[in-house]
Symmetry: C2
Subunit: 335 residues, 2 copies
């Protein structure tokens, strides 16, 4: 294995932000601007579980950063920096690390999320990434998951289901519905699985208009249920109702769904979307939709939060409730 000091100096020190002391210290410092809270989030990714071990190293790096950036976006927080824990197997060589660091550097720049520190260790089993992302939000203004309540509308950014369909194609390129897609459509779905598109550009708008929010990582239906049920003071538990026909789809996902209507379950429960699910006051929806559209990412109304004595409902195009086999996506890149 490459000595840690070498590896840091060559691959990671160039990405280090102010306060990181060129990664030559044991710790970094960060001084939140006055009147701001620090927002902290952590997502771990394991080869064979959250990504494929043979994914391009730059893509693995981007995914690790972006799933964390997505949490900051959903909380209405502006990126401040990140720490990286890197567990490397003996198979990792310098070329892999150089490519990984290049992808990391690109995204750290693009999303204004400098590297603040981390740790590199030997991981005998599988490459393991642990990212702690830090952001800022004006004091008391982080958009909480727990602030939802009955009477709010459910809205979601971008399009849903692309990544889950892309994973299906990745696992079985010959799956019948995939053969109905042209190369561009297949490429779109595969790309959305490999490279999440976190909605950090919308953070300010989300903060301004969402009562509660979370990023959609484990499937839209299950995450909607989570958002509804996480509600505590000052909100209260709620129950989601969602119209499946209103779930925003990319042209590629729409073509796939036409080829196999059963894919609605994959779309609604499949995970890895990294879009932002919001609970909003009905009166706030027009401004939210106008401002997000102006930033190039439309927000779609998909349902609402009902009183908790109602059962959660996913309504099909025929107006009848749909039952899903499971609501929660279990990550399993090697499945």
């Amino acid at each position: 294995m490459i000595p840690e000091d070498d590896l840091i100096a060559r691959h990671f020190a160039p990405i280090a932000g102010p306060g990181a002391f060129g990664l030559k210290d044991d710790a970094a410092i960060l001084s939140p601007p006055a009147g701001h809270d620090l927002v902290l989030t952590k997502d771990m990714l394991v080869a064979g579980v959250h990504f494929f071990a043979d994914d391009p190293p730059a893509s693995i790096a981007r995914k690790a950063l972006r799933v964390n950036l997505s949490d900051l976006a959903a909380k209405g927080a502006e990126p401040a920096g990140f720490l990286l824990g890197l567990g490397l197997t003996d198979a990792i060589d310098d070329g892999w690390l150089a490519a990984f660091a290049a992808g990391l550097a690109d995204d750290a720049r693009a999303y204004a999320l400098p590297l603040l520190g981390g740790d590199t260790v030997r991981s005998p089993g599988a490459v393991t990434l642990s990212v702690t992302a830090l952001g800022y939000a004006p004091s008391g203004r982080m958009v909480r998951r727990t602030a939802a309540r009955p009477g709010l509308l459910l809205a979601v950014t971008g399009t849903i289901g692309d990544a889950a369909l892309g994973l299906k194609i990745r696992l079985d390129p010959q799956t019948p519905w995939a053969l109905s897609l042209d190369d561009a459509a297949r490429g779109h779905l595969l790309e959305r699985y490999l490279h999440p598109q976190p909605r950090n550009a919308l953070a300010g708008v989300i903060r301004a208009h969402a009562v509660a929010a979370m990023d959609v990582s484990d499937g839209l239906a299950g995450d909607a249920l989570k958002l509804a049920r996480a509600a505590i003071e000052p909100g209260q538990p709620a129950s989601p109702i969602m119209r499946l026909a209103d779930i925003p789809l990319s042209p590629a996902a729409r073509t796939a769904l036409q080829a196999d209507p059963g894919l609605i379950e994959t779309i609604a429960t499949g995970g890895d979307d990294y879009e932002v699910l919001m609970a909003v006051e009905p009166a706030s929806l027009p401004a939210l939709q106008r401002e997000t559209a102006a930033l190039g990412c439309p927000v779609s109304l998909i349902g609402e939060l009902m009183e908790p004595d109602q059962p959660p409902r996913w309504i099909g195009s025929d107006g009848e409730p749909v039952r899903f086999g499971r609501l929660r996506f279990e990550h399993g890149a090697s499945a």
Copy 2:
């Protein structure tokens, strides 16, 4: 595997600090007190590398927290909170998790380091822990590794070598020198390997008196070289000289060293000490020693920082320079 929500609610939510929203949100908030910087550090631990897979789960949890607490102590930072990334193999059951969480809770309380958030994932290879610890230091007052310069004295807290000797006994209980130790001495060394004793009680004194500092995790001699060479503006690179006879030893380590004088290499380069190595102005040493002794943890003078054109030197009891086979400890619990 136990569902993540269950696992969090039962084992980890009770340890959550304010700002963690009962671990029901995607992120936590933290508001550093006015006039303070946030200090960030991250250490990852892997079963079979940094601890034994069959160590008591509570001890694994304590070690994961304490190696991070040790970094905060060395930086003169007061604990603020931590995030925990937990990669679990399929062999981990609820009993293991309950014991792990109990150890974590005890230390989180004892060191005033509340749990702020984290992530739990499946790790096919080995149990993997990733801790990001956060602390506070008055603005601009974090004790940097990079502030060392020639002319400063080298001092270290507590005793050195216990953990490395404990690891040797753990790996080979019949090693000849170990047979010269009584049960209490063996127990002391084993305990120091299993449960690091981070010096957080000394953080304020370290901040007041140390020019530069780092925690000793990879061996005293190698870490002294690191501290000396990390010096950049406003410090400058330096070269360490260390008197091996002045390295502070526990009675158990002293007995072992008498039985086998060759153990001085294990003591000086063996790692896992989690003591604090400091570079201090000669005029500051008396106050540093007085104030740390008053807090129950003596600090010993072990050497000094010379001009960088001098070679690093480790001086034996006979006054002659000693050569070590290697200066840096590579973690290898399964070695």
